[in-house]
């Protein structure tokens, strides 16, 4: 007997919805096994990790706030991956958005007006777009692989931020800690409730706008054609280079917006660590959301839960919060495996169909 994949005549619509749910269920089961191996009661642990964060309002707010950057970045990455453009350097674009946006409060600490915040946000977007434009231009001009270049630029961006906050941008009154001054008033995003800031609204608007872009407009059609068959895209008169640049500018800009939103809210200043790996977790968000911006909203919430649940598990079970990253990795694996079911049926087959008469 062996595993045989049989191509479906058409993609299965039911499986397209079921596949992320199956993947999620398998992840929870795997999580239970990991907890059990560590000597925790798996049912209790799963409750603490996946359910308890939903019980208290403050932790629900925390989930939503953590989901915001994931959705912003993930929605942009979905567009990229649909177009077969592999931006995996969103973490770097996030960082450069934060750096450029953060330059305003650091360099002009006295400037306080609504324009301050608007300028910061605009610069954040520009910073992300500019950093994203580099791999796009290198691919278009020199045929350099954008996966590798965009990733290398993550390290460069992080080292650049590190240098800034240890060097020129360090808070002179900050007891030599590698941190910039703390932001205040119009250098921060307004809060809608005690826990939820404006960045959440940005995320929802971005996701809905991209869903409309993909589903209703010619641009969306262009992106999907480019991803499915580049040759057909050329036949349709679409420029591949422009698609690559567009995708990087869009996803880079959204990552930059996420970056500046994060330092202008939760973090409140520039420091060497401004992200628990949002740019990489957003890759999982994009796939878990089936590269559909609305699906990305749900997926972003789920990934946010994995961070918050990880913190909860650390406190009440003594499990390392590093388990969050394991769950995220396992989840992506299951999604990719389950996505096979959309295009294929799985059958078990005898080694040779007929051996009679040999």
């Amino acid at each position: 007997m062996r595993l045989v994949l049989e191509k479906r005549p058409e993609a299965s619509a039911a499986m397209a919805i079921a596949s992320p749910l199956i993947a999620l269920a398998l992840t929870v089961v795997t999580g239970g096994i990991i907890f059990a191996l560590r000597g925790n009661n798996p049912v209790d642990a799963i409750y603490v990790y996946f359910i308890e964060p939903w019980v208290a309002l403050w932790s629900v707010e925390q989930i939503i706030v953590k989901a915001a950057p994931l959705v912003l970045i993930g929605a942009g990455l979905s567009v990229c991956y649909l177009a077969n453009v592999w931006n995996i350097g969103a973490e770097g674009q996030f960082t450069m958005g934060a750096v450029l946006g953060g330059a305003i409060p650091v360099l002009f600490p006295e400037w306080q007006s609504p324009l301050t915040l608007i300028t910061m946000l605009a610069l954040g977007i520009i910073g992300g777009m500019a950093w994203g434009a580099i791999p796009a231009l290198l691919r278009n001009r020199f045929n350099a692989n954008e996966i590798l270049t965009s990733l290398m630029l993550v390290y460069v961006a992080q080292l650049f931020l590190d240098w800034l906050v240890r060097g020129p941008w360090r808070d002179p009154m900050g007891f030599n800690f590698p941190k910039s001054i703390t932001f205040s008033n119009w250098q921060l995003l307004p809060y809608l409730t005690s826990g939820i800031h404006l960045g959440v609204i940005f995320a929802i608007i971005a996701a809905v706008a991209l869903a409309l872009l993909l589903g209703r407009t010619m641009k969306g059609f262009e992106i999907r054609v480019a991803g499915q068959s580049p040759r057909a895209a050329r036949f349709a008169g679409f420029s591949q280079k422009w698609t690559v640049l567009f995708c990087f500018l869009l996803s880079g800009g959204l990552a930059g917006l996420a970056g500046v939103s994060e330092i202008a809210s939760v973090v409140g200043q520039l420091q060497p660590q401004i992200s628990p790996g949002y740019g990489f977790a957003a890759i999982i968000v994009a796939f878990l959301g089936r590269l559909n911006p609305i699906g990305v909203i749900l997926a972003g919430v789920l990934l946010a839960l994995s961070y918050i649940g990880g913190e909860a598990a650390q406190i009440s079970l003594g499990v390392s919060e590093k388990i969050a990253r394991v769950f995220q990795g396992v989840l992506l694996f299951y999604i990719l495996a389950c996505d096979t079911l959309i295009l294929y049926r799985i059958r078990w087959q005898q080694r040779l169909p007929s051996a009679q008469g040999a």
Binding site: M218, V225, S229
Partner: protein, 520 residues
């Protein structure tokens, strides 16, 4: 019949092969005698390739059995087939472009791995059969005919008892085909059986001793082709009379609608072909056909005219407007339409439903489909339905994905999508490649009807039958150069073949020069 006295070399008995819901082979029985050239005839999609893949061990039958010299055998893999003495030349060559001739052949040879000794054997066999080939040449540098020689030599080195040839002449010039027939006849006289798969009836009549005819996966007849006429064979193959295409009325030719002036295009990459100084006028009311062996610049020619690869301004004129630098959509807006060779992945996106594939070539020139950057789903659906109805596109559900359609139906859709606009100029590359006879006839008729309405049509094709069926004038392309376009009646098949092949020899020399230049 004498077949009952002599044991067949190969017998396929009651072979059934099911793919999902499709019965590709339904109770197929076939006998191939020692030393005979046995034709296996059928339309595209009749199931010929499926059966030979099973004989070669690349597929396994769902039920039924093979007999080799009267003994039941299971051909579990191609290496088992080769051990029995079965060799196969594939329709789409199973060659490795980046490897040398000797390496390609070594991959099919058992035993010790010694490329030097193998090269010597290759040279010997190729000299003995008149199939010249250099063992250390890289396949990517070779012409189609030379590539087929590699496959044949690869089989001959294993001293096969049965040689399977899958549509071998579809890529050859008439002269190259004649050389091939001489080799096959010699093999048969030496005792090697040949299973010859084709849908070309004249050559089957010339070459083959017996013929098994397949239709929709079933054997419909087993005949002696020499005693049949081409028409009777065609009736057996298609199951009824083939629709004859009504020829266009002569004398309705008008103004020049597509004009190419000294069209040149540099080669894009090491193995691509450059276009050199092509000039051609296609006038209203006529069909101009471009003949040529695959890989002589047809793809580049299509790309240059369609605007997928822009050239100099004056090189392409559509209805008097210089369009050489314009993109494909600008050319569509002035009334041109294009049908590329590849249906899936070029002319249509396989994973998209037909209503979205309508947008692919028509989004720029039709405001019922796109308004202010927004896709008009109703407009797209209506257009798709109109095309489906006009061209009788058969499908399983209202708006299927392109990949779910059969080759013929998808080609009808892709052609119909363009004809729905009644374009002023239509450029169509390989209009009926791999398409069943019914769909092919419908498409050729549509091409003629379009020209009759006053459009200019340019057909690029490797199929000489098709060219003579539709063309008002014919030109031949070889290594990126185009011959003069002369009226169809002024050409003979031989003359076209010589134009196709003569340039081939030159191509060789120029490639060698290029390599020397690069080395120096």
């Amino acid at each position: 019949m004498s077949a009952n006295e002599i044991t067949p070399l190969l017998e396929a008995r009651n072979i059934v092969k099911i793919f999902g819901t499709l019965r590709a082979n339904d109770d197929v029985t076939l006998k191939c005698m020692p030393g005979e050239i046995h034709a296996f005839l059928g339309e595209n999609g009749a199931g010929k390739s499926t059966l030979v893949k099973m004989i070669y061990g690349a597929l396994q039958p769902t039920s039924g059995q093979f007999f080799w010299n009267g003994r039941g055998v299971v051909i579990a893999s191609p290496s088992v087939a080769r051990q029995l003495g079965i060799g196969m030349v594939f329709q789409h060559f199973s060659l490795f472009e980046a490897l040398t001739v000797a390496e390609n052949i070594a991959l099919a040879m058992p035993g010790s791995f010694d490329l030097g000794a193998l090269s010597a054997r290759i040279s010997k066999v190729s000299a003995s059969y008149g199939l010249p080939i250099a063992p250390d040449a890289v396949v990517a540098d070779l012409s189609v005919g030379e590539r087929q020689r590699i496959e044949i030599i690869r089989c001959l080195l294993q001293e096969p008892k049965l040689l399977i040839m899958d549509e071998p002449t579809s890529v050859l010039t008439p002269q190259e085909a004649d050389q091939l027939f001489a080799v096959l006849k010699r093999l048969a006289s030496e005792g090697c059986s040949v299973l010859y798969i084709s849908h070309r009836l004249e050559e089957v009549k010339d070459l083959c001793d017996s013929a098994t005819i397949l239709r929709h996966g079933k054997v419909v007849a087993c005949v002696n082709p020499k005693k049949e006429t081409a028409a009777s064979l065609a009736r057996l193959m298609v199951g009824g009379d083939v629709h004859a295409v009504k020829p266009a009325k002569a004398g309705t030719v008008g103004k020049e609608r597509l004009l190419l002036k000294n069209l040149s295009l540099a080669a894009d990459g090491q193995f691509a072909v450059a276009l050199k100084n092509i000039s051609l006028a296609v006038r209203a009311g006529e069909v101009v056909a471009i003949a040529g062996v695959a890989g002589n610049g047809q793809g580049e020619f299509f790309d240059a005219i369609s605007g997928e690869r822009p050239v100099e301004t004056g090189m392409v004129e559509i209805d008097g407007v210089a369009m050489g630098r314009a993109g494909i959509n600008a050319r569509r807006k002035v009334g041109a339409a294009f049908v590329p060779e590849e249906r899936l992945g070029h002319g249509a996106v396989p994973e998209f439903p037909l209503s979205q594939n309508v947008l692919l070539s028509r989004h720029a020139a039709d405001d019922r489909l796109v308004k202010k950057g927004l896709v008009q789903k109703d407009g797209a659906r209506e257009t798709a339905e109109r095309v489906i109805k006009a061209f009788d596109v058969r499908k399983g559900k209202p708006d299927p994905e392109a990949r779910a359609l059969s080759g013929g139906n998808l080609q009808k859709f892709v052609v119909g999508r363009e004809l729905d606009r009644t374009p002023a100029v239509l450029v169509i590359n390989q209009p009926t490649w791999g398409v069943d006879a019914g769909a092919a006839a419908a498409i050729r008729q549509a091409i003629l009807d379009l020209a009759a309405q006053g459009s200019a049509v340019l057909v690029i094709s490797q199929d000489l039958d098709e060219i003579f069926e539709v063309a008002t004038r014919i030109a031949v392309i070889s290594r990126g150069e185009l011959s003069e376009a002369r009226p169809a009646a002024a050409w003979s098949r031989e003359a076209i073949g010589l134009m196709m092949a003569g340039a081939h020899e030159q191509k060789h020399d120029s490639r060698k020069e290029k390599r020397h230049a690069a080395g120096a």
